[in-house]
Symmetry: D2
Subunit: 143 residues, 4 copies
């Protein structure tokens, strides 16, 4: 029996130790879309005292993975890029919205926008996935 | 009195809580160059059981920050991109080499290559910084 | 006397020999936004017989330049990235929409989507500009 | 009978109308590598009177295509990014060196550096290809 996108995402999140460390909360997720939230902590800063760029990237990358994997088959990231318009600070609450904008047989192209609690964009992310045929739940593959 | 690149990097690393969480070890760093190392742990995996893409990005981003900030003035990341040729696994030891390839008055352009313990490239990263006039050590600014 | 965005764009287009070679037609342009059109010709193909990737990039880059320069001061491209979901063919009519999504004192971040005549996305482009203080019309600078 | 990399490149170049318009000259090309040259003309400028960013991108993209297709099977660009450290002017002679740095079963990752006649880097380009099984010469496929 096939799994719903909600079940797929719930399982991916449960297995995703780093997203848990980040404190990622899934607000909404379906095939080709996700919306997630986290709050920046003091152990996430870089040497300048602001959020490490890797935190904003990682958060966007999680939204990207959820949106592109919700259909139940494994999509793996090939390329990703990010721009940082403004700095992120400890205590900021971030929201990421991932939208898969085009899909081909083998590839998916996804845009992710990260905003802070003032609705200011703090990260513009784009990612490309390679779409495998491998099911996240082996039992789904046989249906 | 001005600080050496080694002192600047040591201070940046000491303040960089997230690089410490990653377990980043600075092997070599000078103006425009850094070489760092870390080992991937079980709390760094994504929902597929391999290293979260954000870990490889964050590690490369730290190498990038060290290379572009070693001269003692603050350079902040504007844009970065990464490609993931092969998956990274728990237990892998990663080495990143960052090289600033061109510098203008206001901008710096840096290449970072991340390899695993088998010398296989697991991340191709490029980043662009905006070079401010702000000294990491206020006392340096007055010299 | 200051120039309107329409006058700025008209002047930029008139000077832009390569956009003219491409056959770029400006459908709409204002501060932070542009919509342009072109048709792919036989002299724009690569060695595979489809549109050279540089044609789609160049077209998107023109839309990006118009959107980020319409206010009358020079913004120059620092970084740009593009993804190619599907091939473009001779005879295809392309439309690009550029939207500047965030602006800081010194930087602007712009998204450009290129579609063919079937409304299929053929290029996802992002670009970052450095915003100078230099006026496109020296007389504007003195106002 | 199989074709040599030199024969493959010569055929790609002969078919590549846009690279011909650019005036691309192939100095060296083999599997995973190419070095090419061109001179910027007055019909390649943007609205600011310098080389259109699309010219530098297109030139790098041609080097990328030659390096990643020399083995005789079709590799198509998925994603590419470019940074522009300094402006390019009419009359500048550009040289691009493309090096494929990693290859997997389905993907190839290539770095291209573009320099002007003063050996100054004017473009940092990276591109990712999807490696198909399709031969450029159908007769090669049957061997």
């Amino acid at each position: 029996m096939s799994h719903t996108p909600e079940q797929v995402i719930a399982t991916l999140v449960a297995r995703d130790a780093f997203s848990q460390w980040l404190g990622v909360e899934v607000l909404d997720a379906r095939v080709g879309y996700s919306r997630i939230r986290m709050t920046v902590r003091a152990d996430m800063v870089n040497g300048f005292g602001t959020s490490h760029g890797g935190i904003v990237f990682s958060f966007a990358d999680s939204a990207f993975a959820f949106a592109t994997n919700a259909a139940g088959t494994l999509s793996v990231a090939i390329d990703a890029s990010i721009s940082f318009p403004v700095a992120v600070h400890v205590g900021d609450t971030l929201t990421a919205i991932a939208e898969q904008e085009s899909v081909t047989n083998k590839l998916g192209f996804c845009n992710v926008t990260v905003r802070n609690q003032h609705d200011v964009i703090v990260g513009h992310f784009r990612g490309t996935v390679y779409r495998t045929n491998r099911a996240h739940f082996p039992s789904d593959a046989s249906t």
